[in-house]
Amino acid sequence: MSVASKAGGPAVSQSARSFGVDWGGVVLNVYIGFFFLYLFFPLAIMVLAAFNANDTPSITDWRGLTLEWFTGRYDENGDLVVRGLPQDDRFLQGLWHSLLIAFGVIAVAVPLGLAGALVLTRLESRGTTFLYTILVSPILTPGIVLGVSTMIFWRDYFSVEAGLLTTMVAHSVFISSYCMLMFMARLQRQDRVQEEAALDLGASPVLVFRRITLPFLMPTIFTASVIAFLQSIENYNTTFFAIGSSWTLVTEIGARLRFGLSPVVNAIGVIFVLFTICAAVLYVLFKQREKRRTIR
């Protein structure tokens, strides 16, 4: 309480005269402040260290501002002096692997999620809850178990060694479930009258699906693809077990962290952070616009 009174004292004194200080609110605000400090301070350190010329990531041992970790540096003879991000082939290759996997996951998970959601929302039977439990169970399974089971399964049954394919499949197992939940949320708001009307007017089922159901689900197909893509790119725990001797961007970052820190990782971190901030701002703006629309 004493900390709170020091921090919020002068600001609330005016309202205090009229209806008493809302001490609870002050404490809560201070608490929120500390919480956000806790969330952002480590990230700020990481971002700052990417611009330090010191070749072990640090902000306390400052050796001058540099962009070398982003660009690399060549001396006058054209020899590489500082290996920056563009010179790091493994990261670029890893990014390529990640993208391949992520697009594969979208191709598998979105259709599976859609099929699962359609079957579940229209299956009027007692088995629904059981089926539902099975289909969402991957979400409730630890990532490493999914990675392990997929890796062994493909080795034992198809003699496929762990690699990009097994990683793609392991990701699809749980990302399909996420997609399914998104489609189910959308389908619950669906008005089935349109479909029935179209059928009554003689449209074929395939036409109904293509012209009515799919357009209705289009926004969800888009968001589900984005979420699937991000989940796949970001994943580490499942990937680590299913990737075998290959690597993705994230497992490569992990490998670098295990075998000695390098500011190049900080540089990647900065890019990730910038990308995330842009995406998050867009998301929040989009959400707000949607909210306003529904209120109206």
Partner: protein
């Protein structure tokens, strides 16, 4: 089912059902069943059978070398005459003690032919001897393998042979995960409440942004940020140094990352936001009038939370706890990257070692199954405590 069929016809209906079936069978059920099956098959690692196999392999290798040598000598003798190529295949590939001296030095045709005959005879003798030995050894190998097969088969031995160290790690990992979950809940509940109850739109959006950004930043980078803080030359030690609590000059930097406590702290940081969002989502749906009504009727802040907000937030708390627990118990990222190899292993690392270092997949499967079961038990306990169904948990 009838509704599905009525709307989408037989073709699309069967397509959807086939897709779901493939999903369940090929992606979910069979891999798990396969893992469970391996978990219950004990793989004896007897040295004798492996040694026998190695011996047999070695004899096979020697036999093929002999065959090759004989062929080479024959060819050499047939095409012989003239200067003998010092790099004749026989000289290069065969063992030097049997054919080495003859190959390079043979001066004339007849001498070469004689020595070639001798060498072939010698090799044939060796071949016969080895073949006899091979039969014996192969019998041995068969017998040993059969013995092993007999020992194999379904049993609980993968679990019962779990060493006490591994079992302790298992229990500790689960305990740590429960603690992570509890701390996350205590820290996050006020935040989720505050954000959900903010009436000012701009402020709410800003708070939301502040939560989403760290949530969306990659797990590994969040861990890395903390490694920078806790490293021996990291910020934490520098601060302690400047406060005079330790001095770098005397080499007193504390290796924080080498402790399980550091792993624990980083885990809280890495997974805390998985607790915020589910709780936020449920509190957001709570009608503010209920809180106002409780206030007007004279309820204390404590009672408002225990009687109005918390009961409403139950499903969110259940989801948050399950996610946080599952992520911490199954995390290979945090223990693997915070001071790798410096602190005692976590269970996920034990599983990793079984698969990729010891190469004992069945024990690895058994341990994975143990982890899976622990998580299932946790989910079940949560469902009972918070009285929520599976549909409310996975939404």
């Amino acid at each position: 089912m009838s509704s599905l069929y009525r709307t989408y016809g037989s073709f699309l209906t069967s397509l959807f059902i086939i897709m779901v079936a493939v999903w369940i069978v090929a992606l979910i059920a069979l891999p798990q069943i396969n893992m469970i099956e391996r978990a219950f098959i004990f793989e004896p690692r007897g040295g004798a059978a492996i040694q026998a196999q190695v011996d047999v392999d070695r004899i096979y290798q020697r036999l093929s070398t002999i065959k090759y040598d004989i062929a080479a000598i024959k060819q050499e003798a047939a095409g012989g005459g003239g200067p003998v190529n010092p790099f004749a295949p026989g000289a290069k590939i065969g063992e030097s003690n049997t054919i080495g001296p003859a190959a390079g030095t043979a001066p004339g045709l007849s001498q070469t032919k004689d020595s070639a005959k001798q060498r072939i005879a010698k090799l044939r003798a060796e071949e016969a001897e080895l073949s006899a030995k091979l039969v014996r050894l192969e019998e041995d190998e068969e017998r040993l393998k059969a013995e092993q097969e007999a020992q194999k088969g379904y049993s609980l031995r993968n679990f019962t042979t779990m060493s006490s160290i591994h079992f302790k790690i298992f229990v500790m990992t689960l305990l740590y995960s429960v603690c992570v979950t509890l701390i996350c809940f205590v820290v996050c509940y006020p935040i989720a409440y505050a954000v959900a109850q903010t009436t000012n739109k701009e402020r709410a959006a800003l708070l939301m942004l502040g939560l989403i950004i760290p949530y969306a930043i990659n797990e590994l980078l969040r861990i890395f940020a903390w490694v920078m803080i806790l490293a021996t030359q990291g910020i934490f030690n520098v601060v302690l140094d400047s406060m005079g609590l330790l001095s770098f000059a005397d080499g007193q930097g504390i290796q924080w990352v080498a402790s399980n406590g550091a792993v624990f702290c980083v885990m809280v940081y890495a997974y805390i936001l998985f607790m915020v969002f589910p709780i936020y989502n449920t509190i957001e749906t709570l009608d503010r009038n209920q809180i106002e009504a409780a206030k007007d009727l004279g309820a204390s802040t404590w009672r408002i939370h225990t009687r109005v907000v918390l009961p409403h937030a139950k499903p969110g708390i259940a989801v948050g706890s399950i996610m946080t627990f599952m992520l911490s118990a199954g995390s290979i990222a945090v223990p693997g990257l915070v001071g790798p190899g410096l602190h005692p292993d976590w269970f996920s690392q034990v599983i990793y070692r079984n698969f990729f270092e010891a190469g004992n997949w069945n024990i690895g499967s058994a341990y994975s199954l143990a982890l899976l079961l622990a998580c299932m038990v946790f989910v079940f306990i949560n469902m009972v405590i918070f009285r929520v169904g599976i549909r409310e948990i996975a939404r």
